[in-house]
Subunit: 262 residues, 2 copies
Amino acid sequence: MPVGTGYLIAIGGAEDKLAQRTILTRFVDLCGGGQAQIAVIPAASGFPAEMDRLYCDVFSKLGVKHIDCLHIQSRRQAEDTTVVSRLEQASGIFLTGGDQLKLMSLLGGTRLSASISERFSAGIHVAGTSAGASALSRQMIAFGRSGALPSQRMVQLASGLGLVQSLVIDQHFSQRNRMGRLITAIALNPGMIGAGIDEDTALIVTPEGAYEIIGSGKVTFVDGRHLTYTDIHAVKRHDLVTVTGLDIRAFGSHESTLQLTL
Amino acid sequence: MPVGTGYLIAIGGAEDKLAQRTILTRFVDLCGGGQAQIAVIPAASGFPAEMDRLYCDVFSKLGVKHIDCLHIQSRRQAEDTTVVSRLEQASGIFLTGGDQLKLMSLLGGTRLSASISERFSAGIHVAGTSAGASALSRQMIAFGRSGALPSQRMVQLASGLGLVQSLVIDQHFSQRNRMGRLITAIALNPGMIGAGIDEDTALIVTPEGAYEIIGSGKVTFVDGRHLTYTDIHAVKRHDLVTVTGLDIRAFGSHESTLQLTL
């Protein structure tokens, strides 16, 4: 399913940074452990310097010696070849939380965005947490309303980085009651699979297209591949949307030995 | 720019069907003139039988002997291999007007959608008018508000057929005052190019990725490839959105000998 050959690690936000650090440790291990060279992109955040310090600190504690923070505050910087070239040495790229639409306002369609895709295709691993997770998909949830039931205008879509084509990724999923907006997103994109990732939980997509779940929460899949009907084209205002034939399943890490091949 | 090797003909709706029929004649000529085999898909329409009759009539008058109408009223039909196989003989596919979100609710992610892409890649020409034009792009304007100025929540996006990756297509463009929603769509998808097509006007994308315009109106390009800034991530409610670095140009058919290579 991914277009690239690195591991994709989509984290639902609020991953443990102090205790077991299961998710971040896995990312660091994939990237080469002590030999890892990690590029941190905090552009989604309104407080990028603080975000940079936070992740430099935790990656250092996990034994990473080479951490390069790309402070992108303008699209001009994201087009700057000297900035972009700094990805060449990275074995992993980490996108922090914040606002995914801010991230894509800065990166969308730029050389840096193209380079992330190219590096991913070349085998580099890419992790994103919260906003950074949302931005991994091609069709990105920009923002939306909370609630359990799908309804018209509940979700606003935009383009993400496009590292995974068939997934629509949502985060802070159980904690922020986002089932309705994820179902609405799939009604707008029939044939795709929604992945609602809880906090401190990660969905890992392997280069072979297998799925694994790690962390303390669950990942809820809203699978629209066998969708039989939706009336979303006929629904007015903010009324409820009908969708039939959805397959909805939630998995935790203890179930992930299945190596879900969705 | 197109992923396929057929001609793509995006028509802004209300194309002349009685007089010169410039656009429909061009489509028929591309498809082989009297030898053309045209598959009509009226699934976007609320009145598909009437739509079918309308286009059977006009294509017949243009000399086409083989016209096959695929009446798709359910996703089950769009998954039916006997229905899908009827595209195999077609030299052209024509998507009627109606509601693009209805069209994609029926076709999105189905075998028929995949087959349209495959046939297009194999050199078959695909035309769409009005809703059918919108659905040609990957990132599709599902619906939105009229008005000249871009604002938050002005446009709702969904997935289209994806025959063209970098264009966001809008139709009835001048007639329905849709500049604001097209600019908003590009702010949500920086790096892409919006194409706002007037009625009785077509944007033709050649297999080489060149652009040509035919018909009586204009095509307005909202080119976001050099977008320098947008605040769309920070705008609340329905407030105005700022976008800088857009290149906006409109071309009519008399200017299309340029063979625009956008």
